[in-house]
């Protein structure tokens, strides 16, 4: 198979990882909404953790993107 074609396929396959990332982000914010729904006074304390959690899960998404770029361009 052509090297360029194999690179394209590899980069496409690397984005399968985003499936797990979508679940992760949805999980974090679903729990945030449920928690604030049960106990609205706790929103100030819980929100920073939600944002930190979101950034860490987003990092995993971007790790997958990095692999895709590495496959495509080197």
């Amino acid at each position: 198979m052509d090297l360029a074609a194999a690179k394209m396929i590899g980069a496409g396959l690397a984005t399968i990882a985003l499936f797990g990332v979508g679940i992760g982000i949805g999980n974090i914010f679903a729990t945030l909404i449920a928690t604030v729904g049960r106990n609205p006074s706790v929103q100030q304390r819980v929100f920073p953790f939600a944002i930190i959690g979101f950034a860490l899960v987003e990092a995993v998404a971007l790790f997958a993107l990095l692999i895709a770029f590495l496959i495509l361009f080197t």
């Binding site: 944002i51 930190i52 950034a55 860490l56 987003e58 990092a59 971007l62 790790f63 993107l65 990095l66």
Partner: protein, 189 residues
């Protein structure tokens, strides 16, 4: 003495970082306040300056973020050995683990510790590179679509706001993780 506007902003930044260190690294961590403050401001400004049109984002280069992450990680490892001596190696043995699992657990713990500089640097680098690349791609669509260019324009405006939030968030995440690792080195559990 009522602080003027500039003084207020600087005091808010100081209080923000001091509170961050106190919450995540404890009072002994306040010794490292100059380093953490410099790190936060450097990354924040690096991220934001790239959003100005024709500006350059120096944090979107892996060598810059890797140098920062490696420095921080080396500092924290050396600090752990200086404070605790050889006892610092007990950090890799989680308390309460059954002895039979140790040959499996300890290499995993050491590996996940050594991955820290890589994950810190790659997180910041890829966030900046991917975000700004996406901005350029959508901005390119505006003229390419001609009369329907208002749709990519709306998306570009929204994405720009999102990128400003990501600039703050990534600087905050780098700093918070550094403080948490500092807490590990100073208090070791």
């Amino acid at each position: 003495m009522i602080p003027g506007r500039f003084q207020s902003v600087v005091e808010m930044a100081y209080e923000f970082i001091a509170g961050l260190i106190r919450d995540n690294a404890g009072k002994e961590g306040l010794r490292f306040f100059p380093l953490i403050f410099t790190l936060f401001m450097f990354i924040l400004m690096g991220n934001m300056l790239g959003l100005i049109p024709t500006g350059f984002t120096f944090t979107s280069h892996i060598i810059v973020t890797f140098a920062m992450a490696l420095t921080v990680w080396l500092l924290i490892t050396i600090l752990g050995f200086v404070i605790h001596g050889a006892h610092f190696l007990h950090f890799f043995v989680p308390s309460g683990a059954p002895k039979a699992m140790l040959p499996l657990l300890v290499p995993i713990e050491i590996l996940s510790y050594c991955v820290r500089p890589i994950s810190l640097s790659v997180r910041l680098f890829v966030n900046m590179m991917a975000g700004h690349t996406m901005l350029k791609v959508f901005a390119g669509f505006i003229t390419a679509l001609g009369i329907f260019g208002f749709a990519p324009l709306a998306v570009t405006v929204a994405l720009f706001g999102f990128e400003i939030a990501v600039a703050f968030l990534q600087a905050y995440i780098f700093t918070v993780l550094t403080c948490i690792y500092l807490h590990d080195a100073i208090h070791m559990h």
